[in-house]
Every structure is written in structure tokens, then in C-alpha cells.
């Protein structure tokens, strides 16, 4: 049954403090709206905890919180981000997702229609990834707090036995791959905030990376050294974390960085570096040098991986850093961001 066919029996037009108080109103919200939209056998009993048989081998567990303004933006919304973001943390750990939890903090006065939209978005994202939201919680805070709604999640996954990932596995000679064009999510959000009065057809790239990462683990096994999704702070932050954690220098080719034209235009106008802009559907993978070609071929053969590319390579370095080299020989240091990217006029 698709989300739009689900009958909900919750008739309050907006969320109020009583919906978070644990009594009758809370029950109406959970049984009338949240559970029907997320329906699955582990959630449906609505007990204090979801109980199920555990996976064998290594387990991955991740926690995430989502605080985004505006709640809806071109290409997605907070609910979708919450599910995909959690799945992606599991994905880049070499894990197949097993179950998710979702806790809501709602602002009193939030229109029910908004909450419904987000829960539906979460249900759809979870369904597409073949995973269920098996437990959760709801609290309501006074009007003026929570920016509409905040969502916190945890994700549980089973780590593929072939995956052996970590900064200690990264070595000089390894190659750095990127799943696709960058900067879309952060720019979509920035423009959606409307203060800048700039219009562009830029959409968030929020998506689950599970298919791509699983494909890499299967193809490369232990020749896949390290993966990370490039969210807040962009690819620059992820590469700097790699350099610092592995104690290496990462050098990328300036011309290899994939950026959609319209994203580039928006970044140039606002004086931003696409490498520092957030993504919600891209990851960086470090692979053994001699396996880079087959890794790329694998990624490109999986739906969603068509624009995967080689970014650069890992070398030994006395001081961990990330460098970008241009075709004419110019070198610049690629920095981690201090805070969020801000438009500039100078």
C-alpha cells in the first residue's frame, strides 16, 4: 500500500503540547498517524522496544540528528534526509541496514499536514531501501522551539564480512574516488532560504548510497580501504579527516572535481568553494591503486553511480594535508570548513 492510500485516523489540525505528554493525545498521534504510515511487523505492536533476532558477525550502529531549515526544499525534505543520512552512515561502514529508529521533537503549533508529509517521506525512503523504522519516540516542545521539527535517528546494520575499512588501512598509492557531482544539497538549502533572492534549478541530492557501497565491498573486498559520506563541510572536510586520521597527504586534481554547471554558477556568485558545500548523496572511497579502474567500472554500472569519478591519490606526507593541483601546476591547500559556508562579497 503506498503512503497516499494509508488511512490515518488523526483529525487534529495541528500538534499541541498534549500530543507529547504520553496520555490519550499521544496515543492518538502515534496510533492514528505515525504507526499507520510507517507500518511494519516490528513497529506495529507499539511496545517499549522492538524485539527481533540479532544478526551474526559484526554489527554497525549509528546515531544522527536532523535540524534543517526550511523543512522542505527542492529535491527533498527533513524526513527523507533523516532516513537516507542514517542509511548512508551504515553504508559507508560496509554494512547492510537492518533497522532504524526515529525520534521526533515537534514544535507546538506544527501543522499536522507537515508532520504527515515528513513521516510519509521517511516511510518511502525506508521502503526504497528495504528497511523498516521499528521504534521511535515523540515529544512536543513549546511554540518557538524546534524550528518546526527535529528528528533523531539510530540505525543498525550488519557489516559485510568482506569489509575491512578504516584509516589504518589507507596507504600511499591508494586512489581516491568520488560517487558523483558535489554541492547540490548545500546550495539547494542555501537558495531555499530565500534571503539571497537567487533562483536556480538546484535540487538536493539526498539518496541512499547502500547499493553503491555494497557493490564496492563485493567487488573489492579488502582492497576497499575507507569510505565516508560527504555531508556537512563537504568533500573538503571528508578528505581532511582522511588525511588526519590516516596520517597521509591527499592530492586531488582540480579539474577532476565534478560540479554541475548551475551549482558552479551559484558558488561563483556567492564566493563559495563547492568542495566545502554539503552533500546528502555522495561519498568518497579510498581503494587500492591497482583496483581503481575496476572499482570505477563497478560504481558506474550501478544505478546512481554513472558519474562516479577518480579524484586523486594518497601519498606519504610529513604533515597530513589535502592539496588540489591544477593542470598548469598551481597547488592550493583544501581546507576544512570553520562553521557553515557563508556567501561573501569581497
Amino acid at each position: 500500500m503506498s503512503a497516499s492510500e494509508v488511512q490515518i485516523e488523526f483529525y487534529d489540525k495541528q500538534i499541541s503540547m498534549s500530543h507529547g505528554a504520553g496520555g490519550e493525545a499521544s496515543r492518538r498521534l502515534i496510533e492514528g498517524l505515525i504507526q499507520p504510515l510507517l507500518a511494519n511487523p516490528l513497529l506495529d505492536p507499539l511496545s517499549d522496544a522492538a524485539v527481533f533476532a540479532g544478526p551474526t558477525g559484526r554489527v554497525a550502529m549509528t546515531a544522527d540528528s536532523f535540524v534543517v531549515q526550511p523543512l522542505r526544499f527542492p529535491g527533498g525534505s527533513i524526513g527523507e534526509l533523516a532516513v537516507n543520512g542514517t542509511l548512508n552512515d551504515l553504508a559507508v561502514s560496509g554494512a547492510r541496514p537492518i533497522a532504524l529508529s526515529a525520534a521526533f521533537i515537534l514544535e507546538a503549533g506544527l501543522p499536522t499536514e507537515v508532520l504527515r508529509h515528513e513521516v510519509e517521506a521517511m516511510a518511502a525512503a525506508a521502503r526504497s531501501a528495504g528497511v523498516s523504522i521499528v521504534c521511535g519516540d515523540t515529544k512536543v516542545v513549546e511554540h518557538g522551539r524546534a524550528d518546526g521539527m527535529y528528528i533523531s535517528t539510530t540505525g543498525l546494520g550488519q557489516v559485510d564480512p568482506r569489509a575491512d575499512l578504516g584509516p589504518r588501512r589507507v596507504q600511499p598509492g591508494d586512489q581516491v574516488l568520488l560517487s558523483g557531482p558535489i554541492g547540490n544539497h548545500g546550495m539547494a538549502i542555501m537558495l531555499a532560504r530565500a534571503e539571497l533572492e537567487i533562483e536556480a534549478d538546484i535540487r538536493s541530492d539526498t539518496r541512499s548510497l547502500v547499493g553503491l557501497t555494497a557493490g564496492l565491498v563485493e567487488c573489492l573486498g579488502s582492497d576497499l580501504r575507507w569510505m565516508r559520506d560527504a555531508t556537512r563541510g563537504g568533500v573538503a572536510t571528508v578528505l581532511n579527516e582522511l588525511a588526519r586520521d590516516a596520517g597521509v597527504t591527499v592530492t586531488i586534481a582540480e579539474e577532476a572535481v565534478p560540479v554541475d554547471d548551475v551549482v558552479r554558477g551559484a558558488c561563483e556568485l556567492l564566493g563559495l568553494d563547492p568542495l566545502q558545500v554539503a552533500n546528502e548523496g555522495q561519498f568518497v572511497a579510498v581503494v587500492a591503486g591497482e583496483k581503481a579502474d575496476s572499482a570505477l567500472a563497478t560504481l558506474r554500472s550501478i544505478p546512481g553511480g554513472e558519474r562516479a569519478c577518480r579524484l586523486g591519490m594518497v601519498t606519504a606526507g610529513s604533515r597530513p594535508c589535502v592539496l588540489a593541483k591544477a593542470a598548469y601546476g598551481g597547488v592550493r591547500v583544501v581546507d576544512m570548513l570553520v562553521g557553515d559556508p557563508l556567501p561573501r562579497i569581497c
Binding site: E199, R264, A266, E268, I345
Partner: protein, 93 residues
């Protein structure tokens, strides 16, 4: 102070000194008040800074400059013939 971007005028806005410009698909309204003495037309390129068109971009000058640049790094005798980019004291069109 310094961040200014070349943008193409897509449409002039009626009743005000303003235009919509396009930068690789990014659209923004800019004021053309600073170009009131020589207003731009759709299709022309302007330099945009903080929501204002500061100057028209001269395609001809850009081409001439690129032609001069292409000769740099060659034998110095070829270079001595090229004085074209020294324009002190002359009004620009």
C-alpha cells in the same frame, strides 16, 4: 569589494532600472542603475557585484586581450611588436 561575476542579461524589467541576469542557469535580479548612461540590452554581458551591474563587458577587448596573451612566452622579438594593451590616457569604448 572584489567579488564580481560576469553575467548575461536575459530580460530587462519594465518600469525600473533592473534586469534579470543568468549565470550558468542561476538567475538573479540586478539593478542597472549604474549603467543608466549606457543601458545594457538582453544578451549583453555585465559584471555583477552585490546585486548591481557595475560595468558592461567588452567582448572585443576580451578577445584582443586573449590574442595578446596567446603570444606571451614566445620569442621576445615577436613580443616587442605587440604594444596593443597599453592604453593609458585613452577613453575606452
Amino acid at each position: 569589494m572584489c567579488l564580481a561575476i560576469p553575467a548575461q542579461i536575459s530580460v530587462l524589467l519594465d518600469g525600473e532600472h533592473a534586469a534579470m541576469v543568468d549565470i550558468m542557469g542561476v538567475r538573479r535580479k540586478v539593478s542597472t542603475d549604474l549603467l543608466i548612461d549606457d543601458p545594457p540590452a538582453p544578451g549583453e554581458w555585465v559584471l555583477v557585484h552585490v546585486g548591481f551591474a557595475m560595468s558592461k563587458i567588452s567582448a572585443q577587448q576580451a578577445e584582443e586581450q586573449l590574442a595578446v596573451l596567446a603570444l606571451l612566452g614566445e620569442a621576445s622579438s615577436a613580443l616587442e611588436e605587440v604594444g596593443g594593451y597599453e592604453r593609458d590616457g585613452q577613453a575606452e569604448s
